[in-house]
Structures are given as C-alpha cells and as structure tokens.
Amino acid sequence: MSPALFQTLLHASLALCVLGLLWRASAWFRLRIGPDARAATPWRRVLAVCHGVGAALFSRRVLRLPGALVLDVLLLRRLFASGKLRWLGHLLILAGFTLLLMMHALAPLVSARLFPGYQPTLVPYLFLRNLFGVMVLVGVALLLFGRWRAGLPSRPMGAVFVALLGLVLVSGFLLEAHKIASPRAFYRMAQQFVGAAGSAELKPLRAFWASEFGVAFNDLKGAIAPDLLARGRKLHGDACAACHTQPAAAFVSYPVARMLAPATGFLDAGGADTWLLYLHLCACFLGLASLPFTRLFHAVAAPISVLIDAAGPSSAMSAAGRASRRALALDACVRCGICDLDCSVAPLARYLGNPGLLPSYKLMSTGALAGGHQQRSGRKRDGLGGEALRAAEGAFLCTDCGRCTDRCPVALDLEDLWAAGRGDLAAAGLPAPAQWIKARPAFAWAEYLEASPGAHTSSEPGGAYALLSADSRLFSRCVQCQTCTNVCPVVAHSMGSAHGIDLTPQKVMNLLRLGLRDLTLGSRMVWDCATCYQCQENCPEGLRVADIMLELRALAVQRLGTVRGLKEPS
C-alpha cells in the first residue's frame, strides 16, 4: 500500500471515528429520560457534568477513583462476580487487544521508542504478537460460547463488531503466515539486504532459510548438503540475523505457514502479500471508523459509567447530572443480560409472555420512549401503542428489588433509570396500573369484565405456572378467622380514613373460595397491599395470602387491561 493511500485512509477513518464519538457522546447531553430531565437544556447539562467532575476531583471521593480504575475498569471486578467465564473472555479481549494496539498497530509510536532494536520479526515480538492475537480470539470464543450456553440471543451490532474483530485477526495471522512462507518476500528482502543478484550466490542463504525459517521454495528438492547450510548460516548471520529470528516463535502463524507451503507459489503469483495487507489494514480502518457505531462503543461508555459510580450515588448528583448519567447508561449497556438472569420478576415475564419486564429490554424501551419512538411504533390500542403498553406493564410490575443495579457489570444505576422511565410513561398517558385500576371501584371492574364478551373466552395463561388463585387447595382451608386482617398493617392504617380499603384480606380469600375472583381484581386491598407477608406468616391454616395478592395484581393488569378502554357497561 502506498504511504499516501495509507495516510489518507488512516486519517479518514480517524476523522470518522472522532466525529462519531462526538456525536454519540453528545447524546449524553441531549437525550431526556425522566420528568426531572426535561427542564435542563443540553448546555446546562454540560455545565452540570463539568461541575460534577470538578467537585469529584477536588473531594475525598477522588481517592476512590484509582482503585476503581484498576479493579473495575482494568481488571473488570464486577464482571468477575457475575461469571468467571465471561470475565475471562472479556479480560483476554481487553488485554490482548490493548497490547496488540500498543505493540503492533502503534509500533512506531510505542514499541520502537520503548524498546530500541524493536523489529516485528524478532523474538519476543513474534511470539507476543501471536499470543495477544490468540488471547483476543480465545476471548471472543469464550464470550460467544457463554452467550450460547446461557441461551442469550445474538444482536446485529454485536455481530458486526465480532465479525470485524475476527477479520482483523485472521487476516493478520494469514498475512504473517504468508510472509513467512513466501519465496517472493525472501527474494525482495535478499535483494535489499544481501544485494546478490544471481541465484547462485543466494543458494546457501536460500538453503538455510528453507530449512530454518520455513520459506517454501518450490524449486528446492532433496536433502540439503551440510556445507551449503553452514555457508548459508554465515551469510544469514551477516545480513539477516539482526532483524530475523526463527519464526517458529510465531506459534500460530508458523504452523499456518507450513500448512500453506504447497500453495505458496500460487499465492505469490496472485499477489497475496498485497491483498492480504489491504484486507488487514482496511479491516482495521473500518473497525476504527465504525467504533462509535458498534458494540465496541461500550468500551468508551462503560469505563465512564464505572468511574461515575465510584465517585458517588445518583442521588447525590444534580438533576442535570443524573439525566446525563441515564443517557450514558444507554450506551454503556451491551445488553449482556446478566440483569435478566437474576431479575425478581423474570418468572412473571415468562408467565405473561412479556420480555418487556426484563431489565435489558426495559433499558431499550426506556431509551426508545425518551427518543420519542415508542408512540409511533406498535399496534394502536386506546390510542396508545401496544408496544408502549407492554413496556408500561414491564415498568410497573418491577418490584424495585435493586438486583439488576447490584449485578450490572458496568455499574449502571438501573433503579434510577426505571424510576425515570416510569415518570416518562406516566407523562405519556400510561400511569402505573395501581393508578388507573384504583380509578374505578372493584365491583365496577367486575361489571366491566362481566359485560365484556372477551373476558369470558380469554383463556388463563397456563403452562408451567399454575395459578395460586385458581388452585382451591391453596385457599379452601380458610376458616375466616380474621388473623390476616388482624395482623395487616394496611388495614390497620386505613381504618377510619376516607380512603379506607374496601375488602379485608380475609374477605379477598373468601371471594376466592366462592369463585368470585373477578370481584377482587380491582380491590384496594389487592392494590394497597404492602406485601409485608404478615398475613402469610401468621395464617393458622398456612394459606399463601400475600403470594395470592401479588398474583391477583398480575392478573388484574392482564385482565382489566382488556376492558380498560371500554365505555361504561349498560
């Protein structure tokens, strides 16, 4: 490749990369997630972030940053906690890629200055380059294996990134292997450094390189005479040894070169050294230019997220700063799915057939809602998109247990993000189920269900999840002793208030016994239940009162949702 072309491509992809990074990073100040983010203009958010960074740097909190940098950013401590395989894969890619970048891609700037006498064809650099490359490949393989084993879906932007990375490495190994085996490369170098024109003078060197360096001369047949080899060794020592050690140290490329040996003549004739180099460089440039647009961008956003987390909690930030952290979260998340595996409502997501309950999906829908896409997509229902309704279901069935935040390997404050997302949903006309369900009394909801033709035909979700409220063994033992009502703090609190509950827990159980479940779905008891489990702990008959309350809520969202937009039944 001509230096001019190389420089042009390099600068063009570098420029694209920088512009892309700026554009992506600007979203951190533009995107508005959460009602409290609406007031702040992008400019105020830039100022808030600068102020926050300044405040963190000049406080005691700055002492936490070096530790976070080493343990969380470089050694990926949070990932270690969530799975050793995933952690190992990441660490191998991170370390291998960074070292390749430093030692090999930026050799003139780094290796050549740090190590006088650096030549890519010398040991240990031959060995190290192969080692780093293998680290990256093994790391990628481990991650793919891990995703496959956990049953996580592949994602387009992740696939582009993996394909580019694979292309860079494979083309690199092939290029190196070809150069080792190529007679043409040998002659070019020999001409330059030995200066011998005739093949007779090169014969000893050829013999030596064929036997010790694996060059695949197709016109060299039979055993090599020892004296010829000795002369070749001497010539090699004078002209080549300063820059070349035996390529067997390249423990990947050398075996590949041996395998390619029969085809070397063919490859030489086809100009393989040129197009392999083009392939390798173009893949690198493409990777550089596309960095802001593939999953690799998380390598920029995630460390920032981790460092922000180390500096302090979201609650200590200004509203503008929090808004920026939320937007950053959308980029730092790679949808690795660790949060989904541990989500408290994951069983509910399967039961309701709505993956929108899971954190990684919620993150997407929260971002989409902030970007204004949610309203336009999906089937219309009640004037609201069906996708939006499903997202709302996910947002409001979340129990705020905080496990997703605890487990997130890039330290996203997901609880804050969910709260913000719920605010956005409410503003978009999708308030929490508790809010719209409590707008009508329980008996009115039962009448709506009664009047709705669909309500009778709608089959109960089944499969592996048997409904507690449908299994009479779980509540028919109720002797109406009132213990649940007696120990219920919600009943105790609401007694005598204007917004008192309508049914006591024992009445809810009694309605279930009577087969009148629809009458309970919209009841304030079900929706005001604090799920403290006192009823369940103290029930003399061992009824799962609190579990049933929770299930009734899930059922109510599902069943009352179908009649939510209907006119008053006549």
Partner: protein, 434 residues
C-alpha cells in the same frame, strides 16, 4: 438413601404447634442443634392459657382443683394415656422451663402453684386451666371473690360483648357492671379488629385517652376487665400502664380465637425458640423423610424452596398434630399418618368412630386415635417395634388421649415434648458425635 444434605442438625422437629415449639425449645435448652419445620400459625387458636389436666375421668366430667391429683387418678385409671407416662417431677420442670422462656420473650405468667384456676371467657362461661398469664390473673381472683367489678368493651369490636358476660354471670355476681366506650381514634370505623386496637394501645396517647374514658366509669369497681387487646409486642408495659392509670387491678378476658393473646403467644414462642438458635423453616413442609441406617441420620425433604431441599438430622421429633394439624389424615379408608404412613391406633371401622350421642361425656373413639409409642416415645411400626431408633412422637398425634375433653392439651404437648427430648438427648449422647 444418601441424601445430599446441605444442613445437618442433632434434632429435626417437624411441626410448630404447641408440642413442636416445646420440643424445639427443650432441645435447644439442652444444647442440641435443632431445626424446626412448619408453620406456627396453628398456635393462634390458643390463648396463652396453659391447661395441664382438668377433667378425669371424662365420662364422669369430674373437675379437679389440683392437676397433680388429677394426674395421679389418670395414672391409675388410664395407664396408657401419654400424660400418665410422664412423672410429676418432669412435668413440673417442663412447665417451669416453658413459662420461664415465655417470660423472657414477653409473656409473664402468674406463679403456677399446684392448683387449677377458673378464668372468664368472652361469652361469660368459665374455663378451668392451669397456667395463667399475669395480664389475666386479676380476673381469676375477681371471679373467686366477686367484688364490685367493671367490664369494658369497645363499640365495633364484634367479637366481645361485656354486656353478654355480665348477663351470664350477673345473677351470682351483683357488683358486676358493664360499659361500652368508643375506642379513641376509631370513632368513625364501623368494624374494629382486636390486633389493630392492641397496636394502637402501644402508643402513649391512645393509652392515655382510653384510660381517661374509663376512669370516670370506675365507681366502686375493685377490678376492671377488658377484652384482650392491651398491647401486642409490648403487652406487659400496656397492662402495667392501665393498672397504674386506673388505680385498680386490670385483667384481660381472652376473645374468640384467633385472638390477640394467641398472637402474643405465637410471637413469644417464635422468639424464645429463635433466640436459642433453633433454625426455623416456618414456610416449609416436610415432603419426605428417609432414614440412612449406615450414617445413623434421617434425611428430610423440604418443599419451601423451588425444587426442594434436603436437611439431615440425627434425631427426628414428629409433632405434626392430629387432624387439624394434618399430622393424621382421615379419609374413607381410615386414618393414616401423613409423612411416614406409620400405623395409626384407631377404631376398627368408620362406624365405630363416633358414639351415638354427639355430646356423650366419654368422648368419641376417633378422638383417641393416634400413634402408639414404646417407653422411649418412639412410634411403633407395623411389627410393633420402634420405627427408627431416634424417631420420636409428641403432642396430640399420640394415641390414647382426648385432650379437648380432658382439658390437657398444653400439658400433653409440653410434658411429652420434655420426656421425648430427654430420651433423644440421652440417645444422642450415648451414640457419641455424629
């Protein structure tokens, strides 16, 4: 079977009723590591009154002033009765240990002595019992001496009527008056729940307002009775405040089960057991019980975690109760034991389960059904031998007793738990470390 058990204990108590709680408590007191499986909610049917033995023989409905004299009669007349097989010294130790533990957990008892006592019930009848919580004992004295006395109830608390009690007892107790008051802060609430009132009375303000409402009504009353709502977790404090505030002895009358005294009793037992290091799996149920002869351990399969979980123990105490506790299952074919299918002593056929007269004072044969044990409280298998060397049975699952009619439920639970744990302890120490 070699159950992969994560947890190992000296004793596993299956059941958390009165007998299960007593067994767990006594095992822990003896320094044995213990796990208890089962929901304690059944204790809510209790009132904190501890019976020992009130009636013997049942057919004659003979009441006894001294439960220990009744026990002597029982030993003579019904040597197979479980209580007849525990000596008086053990029973005294068991009760002392039990009420001391309850005292430390918040329910103080009046000194036991040797006598049965009479207690007022919420419908004006009289119940004979043995151990009486201090908050109720002034009622025992009032019932004996019948001085001028005021009974107070609260409008909206449907389960308790002072007027009904006074109407029932008034003829023989001329100084007995009744008054209904509004519960402070709940004036607008149509229906009141005892536990909510009990919690409300734990605040100084509600307490002071209630005392202020009652004080003008005292008149010549030398004692005041309330429905049992005087505090829940801090009941002693609330009771003391009422006595100080009103200047006369104050007593609680237990309400219908499930009652506030039942909640106090359950929570105090839970606390007493937990404080002694007993591992409680109160939402758990034992699905399977298998014995590993080689290792000398029992493996219990619990179902309160998805997929089940095994724990192992060197001794097992079966305290699963009779029919309401679902330790015994009665169906058309007869009565069977739920967990192991142990042979159950029972009438030969269903026709013999009940007497012709439902109120027959000698009771129904089905109510004497249960497990038979050897001298060491080990239930017998079909061959008449101990089913397993360290499997014990305690409480109402035992055969040859009708605790409801002979008023000996608590006594049966506490005494047999004491005796069986003593056997378990002896055996475990005898077999060395495991």
């Amino acid at each position: 079977m070699t159950g992969a058990s994560a947890e190992r204990y000296d004793v596993a108590v299956i059941g958390a009723g009165m007998a299960g709680m007593a067994a767990a408590l006594f095992a822990a007191e003896r320094g044995l590591s213990c796990i208890q499986i089962g929901n304690g909610g059944g204790i809510l049917y209790a009132s904190g009154l501890l019976d020992l033995l009130g009636v013997q023989p049942m057919a004659e409905r003979r009441m006894w002033d001294s439960p220990y004299e009744a026990l002597t009669a029982l030993a003579r007349q019904e040597p197979m009765h479980p209580l007849a097989r525990v000596d008086a010294r053990s029973i005294r130790s068991a009760f002392d240990t039990f009420i001391t533990a309850l005292g430390a957990a918040g329910i103080a008892y009046a000194p036991l002595g040797d006598r049965n006592r009479n207690v007022l019930t919420s419908i004006g009848t009289i119940k004979t019992t043995f151990g009486v919580p201090r908050a109720m004992v002034a009622g025992v004295y009032a019932l004996e001496a019948r001085p001028p006395c005021l009974l107070v109830d609260f409008r909206g608390l449907r389960e308790f009527s002072a007027r009904q009690i006074a109407a029932t007892l008034g003829r023989g107790w001329p100084g007995l008056r009744h008054q209904r008051i509004e519960f402070p802060g709940y004036e607008a609430v149509p229906e009141l729940y005892a536990a909510h009132l009990a919690r409300a009375l734990e605040t100084r303000e509600t307490r002071a307002r209630t005392i202020a409402l009652v004080k003008p009504l005292l008149g010549d009353a030398r004692a005041v009775g309330f429905p049992a709502v005087l505090g829940l977790a801090r009941a002693s404090e609330v009771h003391a405040a009422f006595e100080t505030g009103l200047g006369v002895p104050v007593f609680e009358i237990p309400t219908m089960p499930t009652s506030v005294p039942g909640l106090r009793f359950l929570w105090a037992l839970e606390e007493a057991v937990s404080a002694r290091g007993v591992r409680r799996r109160h939402q758990g149920k034992v699905r399977g019980l298998a014995f590993d002869g080689e290792a000398g351990t029992a493996v219990l399969t619990l179902d309160d975690v998805p997929g089940g979980e095994c724990v192992s123990a060197r001794a097992v105490v079966l305290a699963t109760g009779r029919f309401t506790g679902r330790g015994l299952i009665a169906d058309r074919g007869g009565v069977r034991e739920r967990i192991l299918g142990l042979p159950v002593y029972q009438p030969a056929s269903r026709e013999d389960w009940h007497q012709r007269d439902f109120l027959d004072p000698s009771g129904h044969p089905i109510n004497r059904a249960g497990l038979r044990t050897d001298d060491a409280w080990r239930p017998l298998d079909a061959s008449g031998k101990a089913a397993w060397p360290r499997l014990f049975a305690v409480g109402s699952i035992l055969a040859h007793q009708d605790w409801m009619r002979s008023k000996c439920g608590s006594g049966l639970a506490i005494a047999t738990a004491w005796a069986a744990i003593a056997q378990a302890d002896r055996q475990l120490r005898g077999t060395g470390a495991g």
